[in-house]
């Protein structure tokens, strides 16, 4: 089986086999990133455009490194330096990029569906690097790879996703990825942060973290958007940390060899305690390393499309 898609827009529409294919493709690139000369010529002569409408140094850097290690030429567009501020529509921006003969467009945008709209109207291969609250597929795939490496397989694992699920694209992509791979997913957060009808995605909703964490194999902590304080989603950071922060004590309630994950950047002492971030259970940095490999594998697969 080969990867037939033009774009990667989200995991909701991907099959288990397609996700496995991307993970398999990522595997050999981990070795490349471990070399002294971290470069292979697979995408030589290809152009990758990082079009980031939202600031994200971390994701953009990961995509940039991935593309560069594949020998692609990489150009970063960001709103302040592009014509977006001059009233150009997203589609016009994309058409311009297309006619510069770029091959892959990596898009980060605050609007849900931006990547899908763009992909539909362009010949470019579009990779969704986060669209509003919708999806962040490469993050979830890196998480999947990390879990698979550490646990051998994802099937039948108990995974808790904790935090502001309603406003999290990472949560949505992870829910799709994990449920499709056969994990049992629990979602934990205050009711203000759990969207309506979430159970329809095949997850179990909890509001009590202590109850939800008991016996889980993996805990994925979501970043608390501190700027949301004052919008009545939670009364105070203090109370949030007390009810939904991952402390060493809570880690004890999970399975013995639990993995603690976080998409970063971490608010130490808020959603996750300082000693847990640096503790043995945390695989947060492995997630980052796997992020580059997954993005390399994905770009390799997309560039092989005929």
């Amino acid at each position: 089986m080969s990867f037939k898609r033009k774009d990667l827009l989200g995991l909701a529409s991907l099959s288990q086999e397609e996700m496995a294919l991307i993970l398999d493709a990522a595997e050999p690139f981990k070795e490349v990133s471990g070399r002294e000369i971290k470069k292979v010529p697979a995408l030589r002569g290809k152009t990758v455009i990082n079009l980031f409408f939202e600031p994200s140094t971390r994701t953009r850097t990961s995509f940039e490194l991935a593309a560069k290690r594949l020998s692609a030429d990489v150009v970063n567009f960001s709103p302040s330096s592009s014509s977006v501020m001059k009233g150009e529509t997203l589609l016009d921006t994309a058409r311009n990029i297309e006619f510069m003969q770029a091959d892959i467009l990596v898009l980060r945008h605050s609007s849900a569906g931006a990547a899908e709209i763009l992909a539909r109207n362009s010949r470019l291969s579009v990779i969704n690097a986060g669209d509003g609250w919708h999806e962040h597929p490469t993050q979830a795939l890196s998480d999947l790879l990390t879990i698979q490496e550490k646990k051998g397989q994802v099937r039948d694992l108990h995974v808790a996703i904790v935090g502001d699920v309603a406003h999290s694209r990472v949560a949505r992509s992870n829910i799709y990825a994990l449920t499709k791979m056969g994990a049992n997913v629990r979602v934990v957060g205050p009711p203000t942060m759990i969207p309506l009808c979430l159970h329809r995605l095949g997850v179990t909703v909890y509001h009590d973290f202590d109850e939800a964490i008991s016996g889980v194999d993996v805990v994925i902590m979501l970043r608390l958007q501190l700027e949301r304080q004052g919008r009545s989603l939670f009364p105070s950071i203090r109370e949030y940390a007390r009810l939904y922060g991952l402390t060493a004590e809570r880690v004890q309630r999970a399975a013995k060899d639990v993995l603690v994950m976080h998409p970063g950047p971490v608010n130490r002492g808020v959603e996750i305690a300082h000693d847990v971030v640096d503790g043995n259970a945390a695989v947060i940095l492995e997630q980052v390393a796997n992020g580059v490999a997954v993005r390399m594998g994905l770009m390799y697969l997309l560039s092989q499309r005929n």
Partner: protein
């Protein structure tokens, strides 16, 4: 309209000839490099890997020393990557030693156009700076498109360009042999 494929196989080297050729190559390697203390064997996926493993064993039998062994996947270095219809399966390159300053002996089953070896050399260079790169192949069938020549050759087999030479290996579930395959397509 139906197409029927009939395959005719003629064996060029049998199991014994293969072993003899590999044993000779092992001797030649040791002779040329005055032993094997600064030598590393690197098999090119897939066939070359098993031949390199056999050479490693033969060398250690002859010399009673061990020689380091690695595996190289050249998919990412191919010059026809974008042209191929099917996505080649990516495998891992696994060279568990530093290649810098070693004499690296690339091992492959069939030497044909030379493009695979070009890609393998590029791949190796990205991993370090070997003192020397040598090339060992079981079969050289000619028709080079690049200025590449093997240092160790099991057997030279003159071929027509469209002929198909296949090396079958025990490790891949076949009986050891080198064959010329003639595929005739009949349209009925």
């Amino acid at each position: 309209m139906t197409q029927t494929k009939s395959r005719h196989e003629s064996v060029i080297m049998d199991r014994h000839e293969m072993t003899r050729a590999l044993t000779r190559i092992a001797h030649e390697i040791l002779e040329r490099n005055k032993g094997c203390h600064d030598v590393g064997l690197v098999g090119i996926r897939t066939g070359g890997v098993y031949l390199a493993q056999r050479l490693k064993q033969l060398v250690s039998q002859i010399e009673r020393t061990d020689v380091v062994l690695g595996e190289l996947d050249i998919t990412l270095y191919r010059d026809d990557l974008a042209l191929r219809k099917n996505q080649p399966v990516l495998k891992k390159t696994d060279i568990p030693f530093h290649i810098s300053d070693l004499k690296i002996i690339l091992v492959d089953d069939v030497l044909f156009t030379g493009r695979t070896i070009r890609a393998a050399m590029d791949g190796l260079m990205d991993l370090g700076r070997p003192a020397e790169i040598q090339l060992a192949v079981l079969v050289d069938r000619g028709h080079r498109q690049l200025p590449i020549r093997a240092n160790y050759v099991g057997k030279n087999i003159p071929t027509a360009k469209d002929e198909n030479i296949r090396v079958f290996l025990e490790e891949l579930g076949e009986e050891d042999r080198v064959s010329k395959l003639i595929e005739a397509e009949r349209t009925a």
